[in-house]
């Protein structure tokens, strides 16, 4: 197994002692098949136990280890060392406040995500005895890709609009609203529209498209947002030009 010495430049911030973040470089002997998360774990285990970062599954499922790797939002568990030069710069996810080292403050995302009611809201109450909700493969296809979102927030780190206007609801939250709106079992679109069709909702998006480019699960949030814009525009015209048509 080939080994390579990597200079890992990590942005450190200790809220108890630092006034601003600073870079600290660690020299890490990396195996060729390692990912950046392995290198961080090596630092934590062998060089500096004070380094803080989030991780859990090590297999791009939990969405915990999102960070900026050489300026690009990545999952540290999916960023292979062999794809990088000898010097790798690791920073906390952009557009989020830094709690400590590579750990960011994510309350804003969680609040926004909850505000779009990311769960099925049935059209009408149905007793259990009436049986399951049936769905055809075609109906499933309409929203399936959006279910792959792991809430890793890389799309928020990539979105310049979220960086400039922190009130923006953001890619993942609106995509998830779109996911439930597209679901044939759901009847909660009107409730979600109040949040996502607002100014801080989908209309803050200017279709940079960076969210879809960085998504580690190949979800297309940018596409979802444009589809929400189209649907919201149709709503507006229906309401103003054809008020007699029921939604």
């Amino acid at each position: 197994m080939s080994e390579r010495q990597i200079q890992l430049e990590v942005l450190r911030y200790n809220p108890e002692t630092d006034t601003e973040p600073r870079f600290q470089t660690y020299s890490v002997p990396c195996l060729n098949e390692w990912v950046v998360l392995d290198a961080l774990n090596y630092v934590k285990d062998n060089l500096d136990t004070t380094l803080s970062y989030r991780w859990s599954c090590h297999m791009a499922v939990c969405g915990s280890c999102g960070m900026m790797i050489n300026g690009e939002p990545k999952l540290a568990c999916k960023a292979f060392i062999h794809e990088y030069p000898d010097k790798i710069r690791v920073e906390p996810l952009a557009n989020f406040p830094i709690e400590r080292d590579l750990v960011t403050v994510v309350e804003d995302f969680i609040t926004k995500f909850a505000s779009i009611k990311p769960y099925l809201i049935p059209k009408e109450d149905k007793p259990i005895s009436a049986g399951e909700y049936k769905q055809s493969p075609a109906e499933l296809l309409k929203y399936k890709q959006y279910t792959l979102c792991i809430n890793c927030m890389l799309c928020y780190a990539a979105c310049p609009q979220y960086g400039l206007v922190p009130e923006f609801l953001g890619p993942a939250a609106i995509s998830m609203a779109h996911r439930y709106n597209q679901d044939s079992r759901d009847g909660g679109r009107d409730q979600r529209q109040e949040v996502i069709a607002s100014h801080e909702g989908v209309w803050e998006c200017s279709f940079v498209g960076a969210c879809s480019e960085v998504c580690p699960k190949h979800v297309d949030p940018a596409g979802a947002l444009q589809q929400v814009k189209v649907a919201s525009t149709i709503d507006w015209y229906k309401e103003h030009l054809m008020p007699w048509v029921k939604k």
Partner: protein, 128 residues
């Protein structure tokens, strides 16, 4: 322990230099200025037309001047970039589902290019 989160400010006027993809986005946005300028030129054309044949001839002469040709070329380049960049993202904004499959994005983009070619042909044939 009290918390003291550190906020990294986004530079308001230079953020797009950070990433090539942000530069591509800004290029797309900047092309709007050229499209807008050409729309203004058409407004001026209508005004000159209303002022009579001499005024309109003066306008046409100005268009044929080196500066006029250069302006038109610049607008053409900007308009092509603007149009193609939007054509290429249409499958994201307007996916078409047929049964249990999505129509391939290339077909949706291709249809836009085909429509563009047809309209350009009509304009060229009738316009000349």
């Amino acid at each position: 322990m009290s918390r003291k989160p550190y906020i990294r400010e986004v530079p308001k006027t230079s953020w797009f230099f950070r990433q090539p993809r942000y530069m591509r986005y800004m290029a797309r946005e900047v092309t709007c200025i050229f499209i807008g300028a050409y729309a203004l030129l058409l407004v001026v054309a209508v005004k000159r037309l209303a002022q009579g044949p001499d005024a309109f001839q003066g306008f046409l002469d100005a268009l044929h001047s080196p500066l006029g040709v250069l302006f038109n070329l610049a607008v053409l380049v900007a308009a092509v970039y603007h149009s193609t960049s939007w054509f290429n993202v249409t499958p994201q904004a307007m996916p078409i589902q047929r049964g249990e499959e999505f129509v391939p994005g290339k077909m949706i983009v291709g249809a836009h290019y085909a429509a563009w070619a047809v309209v350009s042909l009509i304009v060229l044939i009738w316009g000349v």
